[in-house]
């Protein structure tokens, strides 16, 4: 594991990690959420295609727990949390958790990069929802397998503006 010290050994370790794909550090894939200055007003399909490149997604209903209210009265603040029932060991861990709101103008809400040091694949956040929409949790494992789960949220007052 590349440490943050600056001895020669760790410097070498960092080099190896970079050569090997540096997946422990910030994702090197050109994922959507990494370049938001564009404003990113794109439909869901384009966003998913750009981020996941059409890779198949398995049904994650057995392992993902997506916690979000069924009815959100105020779309400006919707609490969401995602918990994944998967091991977090250096050999196999949850690399990314994506939260995607299908009908938002910026569909990809957040991308969380995790490491085995997290101990548990869990994230929570407050998000905005523009209108009644499906919300998906997409989980990427360290070997690249994708799992997805979606749930509809009814929104009384939209919170995305613009």
């Amino acid at each position: 594991m590349a440490d943050s010290g600056v001895t020669r050994r760790t410097a070498l370790g960092v080099l190896t990690a970079v050569a090997g794909g540096a997946f422990v550090l910030r994702g090197t894939a050109p994922a959507a959420a990494a370049e938001p200055p564009l404003g990113q007003n794109e439909p869901l399909d384009a966003a998913l295609k750009r981020v996941f490149g059409g890779r198949p997604m398995k049904d994650g209903s057995g392992m993902i727990k997506l916690d979000i209210p069924l009815i959100a009265e105020n779309g400006a603040v919707v609490p969401v949390s995602v918990e994944v029932n998967a091991p977090m060991t250096p050999q196999s861990y949850v690399k990314h958790i994506y939260v995607v709101a299908d009908k938002n103008r910026i569909p990809i809400v957040t991308r969380v990069a995790l490491t085995p040091a997290s101990g548990q694949a869990y994230m929570g956040a407050n998000i905005r929802l523009g209108e009644t929409t499906d919300v998906r949790a997409i989980v990427e494992q360290s070997d690249g397998t994708l799992f997805a789960l979606k749930r509809e949220v009814k929104v009384t007052v939209g919170g995305c503006g613009g």
Binding site: G39, A101, R105, T110, A113, A117, S118, Y122, A125, N126
Partner: protein
């Protein structure tokens, strides 16, 4: 809005070595939404919102959130960390205007 950038971090009150703890954090930030003019065209400007949140524990990055404007104003985030050693947990928020807001908590075992 003098409170902008205030970070609150909450860790469980009692932690045992090896526990997986859940940490919640909050930052006061406007997270500007996309604005449109009367014709419905997006006003082109550099919107100020948080695009990266980094969690560091014992000098190592544990989790990174990449966020967009679809995240609420005064965003709240939660994540899990395995508390292996006593030490400092830091959460740093970076926004598109180059501002950096930081909060930290000490992980101590009871």
């Amino acid at each position: 809005m003098s409170d902008v950038g205030k970070v609150r971090l909450r860790v469980p009150a009692s932690i045992k070595a090896g526990d997986v703890i859940r940490v919640r954090c909050l930052v006061i930030h406007p997270m500007e939404r996309i604005e449109r003019d009367k014709a419905g065209k997006i006003i082109d400007k550099k919107y100020q919102y948080i695009d990266t949140v980094t969690v560091t524990y014992l000098g190592r990055t544990v989790a990174t959130f990449d966020t967009t404007q679809s995240v609420s104003e005064n965003p709240f985030f939660a994540f899990a960390v395995k508390a292996t050693d006593p030490g400092k947990l830091t959460v740093a928020f970076h926004d598109t205007h180059g501002q950096k807001y930081e909060g930290s908590a000490d992980i101590a075992f009871s």
